[in-house]
């Protein structure tokens, strides 16, 4: 298999990597120096890097407020997804009356992208009195069909002899879920946590629709608002960008394997 020389492959992949990295490097450099905004021609390497803009972000916009809101919503979404999806996944791994109907219903729901429901979803949320609230932001994504099927597949793989033995020993269904199914499905749990977190952390359209209150804005909302206020002419905007990019990047780099496995499973999600 080693008959072809490797250097052309390195050349191409190296070029691609540079193209993929440039935007990251550029925003990091701008956030550290701000010089691209004022000086021309721009320097490729950062000169006199400083953290002034990061401090600026902290004081000129309610960054901490945004961060807290984002964390609250994401925590709610992640917790709800694990509990609800595991419950539904367990039910679907059993045989019962109406199972086929439920599966058909879930599969058809997957064909309805959330984006085509925004108008009534907004009106419903208004009726429920959940506009401008954390729960309102979290509720529509508190259970995800893809992740239910991830749990179902994982539960299906648990040997039935184990479940039967536990049942004979007097374990209830809840006990089976908590003491047998979940401990044996750590990778499904990891997939759920990562996907739910990334989806809610990056979610923009839905909070944009239902949040009017300044104090309730999440990081992506605050970021896009900040852009309209400063029109791209301050280093603080790019420092802000770096600060919101970091959590996603760190999680991705730490849990790359689970992340990729989860995403390929969740690929067709609308």
């Amino acid at each position: 298999m080693h008959r072809y020389p490797h250097w052309p492959i390195h050349l191409i992949l190296g070029t691609v990597s540079i193209l993929m990295l440039i935007p990251f490097v550029w925003v990091l450099k701008t956030s550290l120096t701000g010089e691209n905004i004022f000086s021309y021609p721009p320097a490729i390497l950062p000169q006199n890097p400083h953290l002034y803009y990061y401090v600026d972000v902290w004081y000129t916009i309610p960054f901490f407020r945004y961060l807290v809101n984002s964390v609250i919503v994401s925590a709610m979404v992640v917790a709800a997804n694990i509990v609800f999806n595991a419950m539904a996944g367990y039910a679907l791994s059993r045989e019962f009356l109406g199972k086929r109907t439920i599966i058909m219903l879930f599969l058809s729901c997957m064909m309805i992208p959330f984006q085509v429901t925004i108008i009534p979803a907004y009106l419903i949320t208004k009726q429920l009195g959940l506009l401008n609230s954390h729960l309102g932001m979290a509720l529509p994504v508190c259970s995800t069909i893809v992740c239910i099927f991830v749990f179902k597949a994982s539960f299906d793989a648990v040997p039935s002899s184990l479940v039967d033995a536990a049942r004979i020993d007097g374990l209830s269904d809840w006990g089976i879920i908590l003491k047998i199914m979940l401990p044996l499905s750590t990778s499904a749990v990891a997939t759920n946590v990562i996907l739910a977190f990334i989806w809610s952390w990056n979610n923009f359209l839905w909070p944009l629709i239902i949040i009017r209150d300044q104090d309730m804005q999440t990081l992506p909302l605050g970021l896009s608002r900040f852009l309209t206020v400063v029109e791209g002419t301050t280093g603080a905007l790019y420092a802000f960008c770096v600060m919101v990019l970091l959590p996603g990047l760190v999680i991705f780099l730490l849990a790359q394997k689970e992340f990729i496995a989860g995403l390929t499973k969740g690929a067709a999600k609308g």
Binding site: Y4, H6, I9, H10, L13, V16, L19, M20, P23, F24, W26, V27, Y40, P41, V83, F84, M87, A88, A91, R94, F96, G98, I102, L107, M110, M111, I112, P113, F114, Q115, V116, I119, P120, A121, L123, I124, S143, V146, I148, W201, N202, F204, L205, L208, P220, L223, S224, L227, Y238, C241, V244, L245, L249, F252, L253, I260, L263, T264, A267, A268
Partner: protein, 301 residues
């Protein structure tokens, strides 16, 4: 007998109870909205006005009198049509990353890194790269002597949409690559070995073995590209707000501004119906073309 029957009933009750939260959420935020939206599209309605039956008024307005709608519709089609470009590039990268080359994991990580990050931030970075006076892209083009002075990419009627599409491909290409890579790794290497013994060139092997066996993965990428063109709200909203003059407006951004900026909920509902039917038709078509496997890849197993 009685006891067994009662246990069965209790079990059935429990299983349905376990399904209740998820079912409630999907009913409330998927099923009811879908039907409500359909009804709304045949009504005159606004938050401060009682509903009134409108027959096909909104649809007539959309198809015959709203020039912006057709503009937006074709933009969405164009956005979708750009997916094959991204997929082809991703396929090239995936094939190279799949070789025994050193550091392939590093390359894979770098190419994929742009996908999980927040799209709003990606939009801000790219509108900065495209900036007319101090943007990196204009700087490079001027330095190379391609252009004399900066081009206002995102303010230009012709260049705005292609510019946004480039940013969108940059973000999604790593995801395509991962899916294609997973597909490549399922192809048994014996196939290549026996083909090589039979004297097939690398190109022949690629065309006769890789491409046909990769079909499900490629179609999955197409489906994602289609979904992307219907749901890519964040990038457009941040980079151009749909402007200049609807040049970068997609159906989803047009629906948003019609409903939540102009408060024309009824008309936006009609737009949504068309958007959804269009999406459904394409998704089913892509599914059929792939031999019914595009969606089943992840759910079936």
């Amino acid at each position: 007998m009685q006891i067994i029957k009662r246990r069965k009933t209790r079990e059935l009750f429990l299983l349905w109870l376990l399904l209740t939260p998820s079912l409630a959420i999907f009913t409330l935020y998927r099923i009811i909205p879908l039907f409500w939206n359909g009804i709304l599209s045949f009504q005159f309605w606004s938050p401060y006005k009682p509903a009134e039956f409108a027959k096909l008024y909104h649809y007539q307005e959309m198809f015959f009198y709203d020039d912006a709608f057709w503009r937006v519709f074709w933009n969405t089609v164009l956005f979708m049509a750009s997916a094959p470009v991204g997929i082809a590039l991703a396929l090239g990268i995936a094939v190279l990353v799949n070789t025994q080359v050193r550091g392939r994991n590093v390359y894979r990580t770098i190419v994929f890194m742009s996908y999980p990050v927040m799209t709003v931030a990606v939009g801000i970075i790219w509108q900065w790269l495209y900036n007319e006076k101090v943007g990196l892209i204009n700087y490079i083009l001027i330095s190379l002597g391609v252009i004399g002075r900066g081009i206002p990419f995102l303010q230009s009627f012709e260049l705005a949409l292609p510019s946004v599409i480039v940013a969108s491909i940059w973000q999604v290409i790593g995801f395509y690559m991962i899916i294609l890579l997973a597909g490549l790794q399922t192809i048994p290497s014996e196939l290549y070995e026996s083909a090589a013994i039979d004297g097939a060139s690398q190109w022949m092997q690629f065309r006769r073995i890789t491409l046909p066996l990769l079909r499900p993965s490629v179609f999955l990428c197409f489906v994602i590209g289609i979904i992307n063109s219907f749901t890519n709200f964040d990038l457009i909203f941040v980079m151009t707000q749909g402007g200049p003059a609807h040049a970068t407006d997609l159906l989803i951004t047009y629906i948003y501004s019609t409903a939540f900026k102009l408060s024309k909920f009824d008309y936006a509902a009609a737009l949504t119906v068309v958007n959804f039917l269009f999406f459904l038709a394409l998704a089913l078509l892509a599914n059929k073309a792939s031999g019914g496997e595009a969606g089943a890849v992840e759910i079936g197993k």
